[in-house]
Symmetry: C2
DNA sequence: GTCTATAGCCAGATAGAC
DNA sequence: GTCTATCTGGCTATAGAC
C-alpha cells in the first residue's frame, strides 16, 4: 500500500532538483537549495535518493527521456522529408519554449562527462540514424532533393533548432533585443527554420 | 622594472586557469587543480588574482576577446555576403577545432549569469549588427538574395557553425561515429555549411 | 517518514616566515 | 614573490530521536 504522500514527496524532490540542476549544473547545485525549493527537509533528499550523484542521475535521465522522442520525429517517423523538417521545427521550438534550460543542461553535462553518452546510446529508446540515412539517400537518387550527406543534414537540422535556445543570452546581446522581442523571433523561427532548410535542399 | 619571471607566473596561471575553467566551469573548478596545472603554489593564485571569482573573470574576458573578432568578420568586414559566409564558415571552424571547449564555456557561463552579457555589450569591441542589417536589406531589395530577415540569417549562420562543437558528444552518439570520424565530418563542414546557407538564400 | 543535530570533509582565503 | 600552516565556512552525508 503506497501512500499518496510518498509519491508526492518523491516527485516534489525530482521536480525541485530538475529546476536547480538545470540552472546551476551538477557542481553548482546545492542540496539545501533543492530542499528549500521542494519545501522539505534536506535529509529527506538522502532518504529518497541516497546521494547527490544519484539524484542528479535521476534528473538527467528524466530530462533525456523527454528529448529523445523529439529526435525520433526526424529519424524514425513515416513522413516525407519535408514533413519531418516542418513538423520537427514547429514541435521542437514549441517544446523548447516551454523547457528553455533543457538543452543547455544536457549538453553541459555531456561535455563534462562524455562517457555518459555511451550509457545513453545503449538504451533502447536512443534514436538511431539508420532509417533517416536510407530515406535521404533514396531521395537524392530519385532527385527529390539535391545531393547531401544525411549526417550533415541531420546536424544542420539540430543546429538550427537547438542553438537559438542554448545561446539565447549571447544572441540577445548581438542583435540587441529584449526577452519579449527574442521570444517573438523564436516564434517566427517555427516556420522560418523549415523554409530555410527546404530552400537549401530542393532541386 | 618588471621581472620576466613575474609575467611568466601570471601568464602561467591564466593559461592553467583557462584550461581548468573551460573543462569544469566556474563551480566545478578547484583552485588546487589550477595551481597544480600551473605548477605553482596555491596561495600564489590569490597573490596575483585575489579570489577565484576575479581569476575566473580574467579568464572569461580573455576567452571572449578571442571570439569577438570572429563574429566581426560576418558583421563588419568589407566583403560580399557570399564571401562573408564562406570565409566565416572556413575560419570559424578552423579556429574552433583548435579551441573546442571555448564556445561551450562561454555559453555555459552566460546562461548561469545572463546579466554578464550587458557588461560585454558595453565594451567597444562588442560586435554590432547595424552594418550587416543594412547589407542584407539592400541585397534583398536588389534581388541578389531571396527575402530574409538579417537577424534570422545571422542566427542561422551562428547555429550551423557553433552548435556542432557544443553538441559534439551528443551528435557523435546519434550518428554513431568516433572522434576521428567526427573530426572529418567537421572538416567537411568548412565548405558544406557555406554551401548550405548560400543555396538557401540565392534567388 | 520526517525531523534535529552533527560528523567529517574539503575548498577558498589569509597570516606570517623567509 | 614564494612558501607552509592554518582559519573559516559551507557542503554532503549520516546518526538517532520521534
Amino acid at each position: 500500500m503506497i501512500k499518496t504522500k510518498d509519491i508526492s514527496a518523491e516527485e516534489k524532490i525530482l521536480e525541485a532538483a530538475r529546476q536547480v540542476f538545470e540552472n546551476k549544473g551538477m557542481s553548482g547545485a546545492r542540496m539545501q537549495e533543492i530542499a528549500d525549493e521542494a519545501k522539505i527537509n534536506k535529509s529527506l533528499l538522502h532518504y529518497y535518493y541516497r546521494s547527490k550523484q544519484k539524484l542528479f542521475e535521476a534528473v538527467f535521465k528524466t530530462a533525456f527521456k523527454k528529448l529523445a522522442p523529439q529526435i525520433n520525429i526526424i529519424l524514425n517517423s513515416d513522413q516525407s522529408i519535408c514533413e519531418k523538417i516542418r513538423n520537427f521545427s514547429k514541435n521542437y521550438t514549441s517544446f523548447m519554449i516551454k523547457h528553455p534550460y533543457l538543452p543547455n543542461f544536457i549538453l553541459q553535462e555531456l561535455n563534462r562527462n562524455p562517457e555518459f553518452v555511451k550509457e545513453l546510446v545503449s538504451t533502447k529508446t536512443f534514436p538511431s540514424m539508420k532509417n533517416f540515412q536510407t530515406q535521404i539517400q533514396e531521395a537524392v537518387v530519385e532527385k527529390k532533393i539535391r545531393k547531401i550527406e544525411a549526417e550533415q543534414l541531420f546536424i544542420n537540422i539540430l543546429s538550427l533548432n537547438i542553438f537559438p535556445f542554448i545561446a539565447a543570452p549571447l544572441i540577445k546581446g548581438f542583435i540587441n533585443v529584449n526577452d519579449k522581442e527574442y521570444r517573438s523571433i523564436l516564434e517566427t523561427r517555427k516556420t522560418e527554420i523549415a523554409n530555410f532548410i527546404i530552400q537549401s535542399i530542393k532541386i
